[in-house]
Symmetry: C2
């Protein structure tokens, strides 16, 4: 298959509040060199797709407030490749816009949709899997998601139960289950039939538009009404009025859990959604003392199991602290047990109530 | 008594390593607005003595590296009032120099010697006590120290046992005991005969010089050999070569514990040497949640008994932390249980070994 009809949509509008204050509203997770590699997570996502999709076919979907960061981090892209959402509406409206936009440019387009803030390792396996996926969706009217073999009974993810094998690693989807309880997740893990939903999707632009029309007709109608505007100078004006009117809904709820032509490709590349401090701790290399440090020096006494994430070249000296998150953004310092990290969103909210937007 | 023969020596050369990193080598404790009053501890020491001693009779003894800070914080002083030590030699050489310097200017001088980094409250009582002390040492060949009624069995201080009362609150000294163990300190507290050595001394310049000659003849000989230089343009040249040759020794060891004409005046003003984080915590006003904050905002969850000392207007969010010191100087963050604060000096040393002087 010729690459020229292959497109990539990188979703880049998240605000990263779970990593506050290391990640801030004006500089969320995807724009941070989170792994100290010299490239941000967005840049790593872009680099990873370059061997697979022509550069001019890469489209970034992000909130309007991040336009400058995207341009600064991906200077090779033209302004036409950066679609700025005028409001936050979860993934379904975002993907619908991208599909209509790309279909207007290239009616034969196939596309991969990927988050910008996940970690993927073993990139050769990623490249091979995505190429297989493109070949499948180009030959079939199929909505394909990449499934990750689970390694723990994680309760924060969506699980996909695989059905009959269609070809290679590609199966029909039997069920979707969002955020199971621990007992259920443990059962899922034992059966070997369940895979994590990576949030990486492949399909033809025409296939996802057809599926939107069938599964979420109200949402689809918003974009269908602007069909003549996409790919023209009038597209942004249309989006400015139409996009905020969309319901905020995920593509999983809007389409994947309702459509009949849904497939999962089980993959073997390394994947981590970096969704929590604990996830970042688990996948990061540890110091001799069992601590993880991001961009800082640490002198640790009687302290292990901590993750230190600090701007620039700061020295942290810590005594008698175990299994904590220590995150410092310059004007905010967070010290919180890893086991309490689900409270961080509440803390961000409390900071907003007490101090306004200053520390967000 | 006419004030014009009364002098004040403020000792201002400490490096404040116990409060690292809030206090840094280039900005030690005495130069910090430690209590958030808008005045540094040095400035508060200066303000406190102004009603008692003529401004032009106030002399600051400090290390040469702090000349700029002293001038910036006390702009009313002339350069002649700031004596710059070319080396660190503890309090005895410092006081000997000050005494010879003042005696050369005014052979009839009496003087108070005071640290620059203690907290004193009830300043009217301080003024009354110091005036009484001046009157006593001007009428007698006496070495007088101010004694604080102890409120706890502190093992880090020197204790003075009072002997017979001479007049008012002034007694002969029976014994000095430096840093007793806990059991002894508890006994001291019970008897009511023991007072903390405040490190504030009064005497005539001639009395302390005579005492130095009798008790520490080697040290005295260094300064005696330069008798003709003090108060002249040659004083600093003389000090540059003579001062570094002195042994490093405290005035307590060099004179007070050996002389026979030693007296203690028990005083009633509030006193705290701010020698430890715990001392600062104990004397500071607490938030509703039992935390102390210095120059920062704190959102505390399940956290009490902590002291937060941070530069400027930072927000600290903390969960599940009790009885810790959290000190942040911008490029260094310390998190340490209050109970472990005696280890901070070792931590400073480790930081030096690992990173050089960068973080000191």
């Amino acid at each position: 298959m010729n690459q020229s009809h292959r497109y990539c949509v990188i979703m880049c509008g998240g605000i990263g509040s779970r990593f506050w204050p290391y990640s801030r509203t004006n500089m969320p997770k995807q724009f941070i060199d989170f792994l100290g590699t010299g490239r941000s997570l967005l840049q790593m996502s872009y680099d990873r797709i370059l061997p697979i999709v022509p550069k001019e076919n890469i489209v970034i979907l992000t909130n309007a407030q991040y336009a400058d960061q995207v341009k600064a981090q991906l200077p090779d892209l033209t302004d036409n490749q950066i679609l700025l959402e005028p409001a936050r509406r979860n993934t379904a409206p975002c993907i619908a816009w991208a599909a209509y936009h790309i279909a207007a440019i290239d009616p034969e387009a196939s596309m991969i949709v990927t988050p910008s803030d996940h970690l993927i390792t073993r990139e050769a396996e990623f490249e091979r899997a995505v190429t297989d996926g493109f070949n499948f969706v180009e030959a079939n009217d199929a909505l394909l998601t990449l499934g990750i073999a689970p390694t723990r009974p994680e309760t924060g993810y969506g699980y996909i139960q695989v059905g009959e094998e269609v070809e290679g690693a590609i199966h029909k989807v039997k069920t979707f289950t969002e955020k199971p309880n621990l007992e259920l997740a443990q059962t899922f893990l034992r059966t070997g039939e369940f895979f994590w939903n990576s949030g990486i999707f492949l399909w033809k632009a025409s296939s996802i538009i057809n599926a939107l029309a069938a599964c979420s007709p109200d949402l689809n109608a918003v974009f269908e009404s602007g069909r003549s505007e996409f790919g023209t100078d009038r597209e942004r004006t249309f989006i400015a009025q139409a996009f905020p009117s969309c319901l905020s809904i995920s593509i999983d709820y809007a389409v994947m859990e309702r459509a009949s032509n849904v497939y999962v490709q089980t993959v073997t590349f390394g994947w981590n959604d970096l969704g929590t401090w604990s996830a970042l701790y688990d996948m990061s290399p540890k110091n001799r003392d069992g601590n993880v440090t991001q961009r800082c020096q640490v002198l640790a006494y009687n302290s292990t199991g901590n993750i230190f994430a600090v701007k620039d070249d700061k020295l942290i000296v810590v005594d008698g602290l175990n299994d904590y998150i220590i995150a410092d953004s310059g004007d905010v310092l967070l010290i919180c047990p890893k086991s309490q990290e689900q409270r961080i969103k509440q803390m961000v909210n409390d900071a907003k109530v007490n101090y306004g937007d200053k520390y967000l």
